[in-house]
């Protein structure tokens, strides 16, 4: 009769697994995908598809053929990385370039470090950084949204990003008031009708997905909140000091990739700290760095690097800021 299962407690398991967590992230990324299809058209679909397929294929081939391990692609983490990488590039990117970015993201940034859970850097951002140094021109050519919708080679009609316009004119010595007519209005920035990477232009779509992840508690509110708080406070201080040279914090929130970064990149479970205090320091540091790079760096955008830099500090933060223990304070008293 003995067919009883024996194991240590607990004998109950929450109905979540890694695949469901990743599926939730994929769902949360869908509003941005739809927005990218609307603003950048068929090319957005092709770029995203190539990125995802390349990422999944790379993981599959490396784990099963090279490492002779179990195929882990069903955990969907490669799909997430592929999506995020595509969201970080312009729709006009040559397909072989996005594919090589995906191969780098999975092969070097993730699997070379031991695969899911062991990578110190966000694979999608590492892939983007690789692409930015390898293909600087293609990575900074931004097709005009909506207008280029039906084009398969949209880089003929380009539009600068709001941050690019800002950087260029400030460098030329103009005040913001002098060129403000060249900047898109906040409504267009909010819905995403501006130049930029596939998944970063529509603040609205990112917020919908981000709020969904917050509601189902896949991510904690601390990281997006404090990341954006860091950005707003630094850009806010400089705006107050000299509004003719520094854009206001709302502009900085809506321009570039900080919203995508705050909700989907900085919150990457693997590469962010474990304790609440650690998450706050990490996010605040990332937001401040992003602001400083934007204000004083040579690139108009600072989101990717701010997060990659903070990724490097995560082991240190985890060690320095463990969670507060029950009874620890009391035992000192």
């Amino acid at each position: 009769m003995n067919k009883l299962t024996v194991s240590l407690s607990p004998h109950a398991k929450a109905p979540i697994d890694t695949q469901k967590v990743m599926l939730a992230v994929i769902l949360a990324l869908m509003p941005s995908f739809i927005a990218s299809l609307y603003f950048f058209g068929v090319r957005a679909f092709i770029v995203t598809a190539v990125s995802v397929v390349a990422a999944v294929l790379t993981e599959y081939l490396i784990t099963t053929i090279l490492l002779k391990r179990k195929n882990t692609t069903s955990d969907l983490s490669a799909v997430v990385a592929g999506l995020l990488l595509a969201y970080n590039v312009p729709s006009s990117i040559p397909l072989w370039q996005i594919a090589s970015g995906a191969v780098f993201a999975m092969g070097i940034a993730k699997l070379a470090f031991g695969g899911l859970g062991n990578n110190p850097f966000n694979p999608a951002l590492a892939g983007r950084a690789f692409m930015l140094v390898s293909f600087p021109q293609q990575m900074t050519t931004w097709p005009q949204p909506v207008v280029t919708k039906m084009m398969l080679n949209p880089d003929a009609l380009t539009a600068a990003t709001p941050l690019g316009i800002l950087k260029e004119h400030i460098k030329a010595g103009e005040t913001i008031q002098q060129f403000s007519n060249k900047l898109p209005d906040y409504w267009h920035m909010f819905i995403g009708n501006i130049g930029g990477s596939l998944g970063e232009t529509s603040a609205l779509a990112i917020l919908i997905g981000g709020l969904f992840l917050l509601l189902i508690r896949v991510i904690s509110w601390r990281i997006p909140f404090f990341y954006l708080a860091g950005l707003v406070s630094i850009t806010g201080i400089f705006y107050l000091i000299d509004p003719t040279r520094y854009a206001d914090p709302l502009f900085h929130l809506l321009a570039g990739g900080v919203l995508l970064g705050a909700f989907f990149m900085a919150t990457d479970l693997v590469t962010s700290p474990m304790s609440p205090a650690g998450q706050i320091i990490y996010a605040l540091g990332g937001g401040i760095l992003a602001a400083l790079i934007r204000l004083f760096g040579s690139y108009p955008e600072g989101c990717s690097y701010s997060i990659l830099i903070m990724n490097a500090f995560v082991p240190l933060i985890d060690r320095a800021l463990p969670p507060s223990r029950f009874g620890k304070e009391a035992s000192r008293a």
Binding site: L4, S9, S77
Partner: protein, 445 residues
């Protein structure tokens, strides 16, 4: 009013209290019982009967040996068949007195009348002695001898008695039914415990998912002096001693210390009821309420069961094991023990027999840790389960000790929540016991 709870961590697994509305039913006495001589923490009791002896219900058959030990009484009347080893809930062989049941004759000293006896003229030390004689142990699961808990060491003082009626384990409803059906007896038991400890204040902490019991208790407790009822948020592990004290009094037991250090003694609700029976009715601890439960069982129930009743008999009474591959747990799903077979018997600490079937009975295969930090956020002790698991795997005992692995209360919240199905608590248990052994060796030097 917002319900009180402990501030850090915790989970809310499906409650599955499928037996909550089923009144306590008296289980028929089996043909034969095997009463374990070790139903408590500490040294097993020493058998004082031999094969062929006649015993009555309540006859002392095992004498406490050593400081932390408890008396064992016969739960049936009949003849001692043998003294032999049977598996306990963990599957370890333990000595038991096997008795063939003949009728149901009780020791004459036992008062079997249903009359509620409220007054207790005994002195604190007499009360404690009676509790000791009756073999009462903590009925929540650990089985710490109650009389030892009530003897406050020199230099310590206690001002609050906390009655643990949280019953935060999913499925279990034994305490719930007892609170509801034996309210007065239980409250008299609490008063007696108050007197034994010489404290003015007793607080019964009970989770909000037992509204009927809360109502009944609150109304009835008005007639008793110094007994408060506190409704707790339904959250696991609300019934863990340190978490309960924090929720009820706001006091935080320091790491590595005991409730006594913050002036509290925590006693399980079922134990308080057993104290009433022992002190007022001279009935030793020979039966208890056991929740026999599980979604696949034909007849789940709350049963008053004699100690020594084979688990197989109890399961058969509830309709027998389903065919589906299954797990039989002594206790609840979070902290209970999965039994290798049904040969063990009901003890003073068996709060439930839980049968789970099918996929639920098998653990999912672990995958890589994705550092989601869920284990950190649910740990009620503020530990880092993911790290403790790694430190244990790498046998870094110094680091594990520094990271307070011995503070782990083994509630299992981390393993429950982990999306990667990591065996976090399994590893932490191993690490914890190794670190404790190292600590003991060090202090022995």
């Amino acid at each position: 009013m917002s319900k009180i709870t402990f501030p850090k961590g915790g989970i809310h697994p499906p409650e599955n209290k499928i037996t909550e509305h089923l009144p306590i039913e008296t289980m028929p006495i089996p043909d034969e019982v095997a009463i374990l001589l070790s139903q408590h923490l500490g040294a097993p009791a020493k058998p004082i009967v031999a094969k062929g002896d006649k015993v009555l219900v309540g006859t002392l058959i095992g004498e406490a040996q050593g400081f932390i030990s408890a008396n064992i009484h016969s739960s049936v009347s009949g003849t001692v068949v043998k003294i032999d080893e049977i598996p306990d809930a963990n599957g370890y062989p333990k000595t038991a007195v096997v008795i063939k049941v003949e009728g149901d004759e009780w020791e004459p000293s036992c008062d079997l009348s249903s009359e509620l006896k409220k007054e207790c003229p005994l002195s604190p030390s007499d009360i404690i002695e009676k509790i000791k004689q009756a073999g009462i142990v903590g009925m929540g699961g650990a089985g710490f001898p109650t009389h030892v808990k009530l003897m406050i060491p020199e230099g310590k003082s206690v001002d609050t008695l906390i009655i643990n009626a949280a019953e935060c384990e999913p499925y279990l409803t034994a305490d719930h039914r007892l609170l509801l059906e034996r309210t007065e007896e239980l409250l008299v038991g609490v008063s007696i415990l108050k007197k034994a400890l010489s404290v003015d204040r007793a607080v019964i902490g009970i989770e909000s998912n037992k509204p009927d019991a809360i109502k009944k208790l609150s109304e009835t407790a008005l007639e008793y002096e110094g007994i408060e009822i506190k409704e707790l948020k339904t959250k696991y592990p609300q019934g863990a001693e340190k978490q309960l004290i924090k929720a009820v009094t706001g006091r935080e037991v320091p790491s590595g210390r005991l409730p006594l250090d913050v002036g509290c003694v925590v006693i399980n609700a079922g134990t308080a009821h057993a104290v009433y029976r022992a002190v007022q009715k001279n009935i030793p601890l020979i039966e208890r309420v056991v929740t026999v439960t599980g979604k696949a069982l034909k007849k789940p129930a709350n049963l008053m069961v004699r100690t020594g009743t084979p688990v197989s008999v109890v399961v058969d009474y509830a309709g027998g094991l389903p065919d589906d591959i299954c797990k039989v747990i002594s206790g609840g799903p979070m902290m209970g023990k999965a039994m290798p077979n049904l040969d063990s018997t009901i003890t003073k600490t068996t709060s439930g027999i839980l049968v789970i079937t099918g996929k639920e009975a098998i653990r999912p295969e672990p995958t890589a840790c994705i550092r989601c930090a869920k284990c950190v956020s649910v740990c009620p002790m503020g530990l880092e389960p993911y790290l403790l698991e790694k430190l244990t795997e790498n046998k870094l005992w110094d680091k594990a000790e520094e990271k307070a692995i011995t503070d782990c209360v083994e509630c299992g919240s981390c393993s429950y929540i982990c999306p990667a199905a990591r065996p976090l608590l399994d590893n932490i248990r191993y690490g914890k016991s190794t670190v404790m052994m190292i600590k003991r060796k060090r202090s022995a030097k």
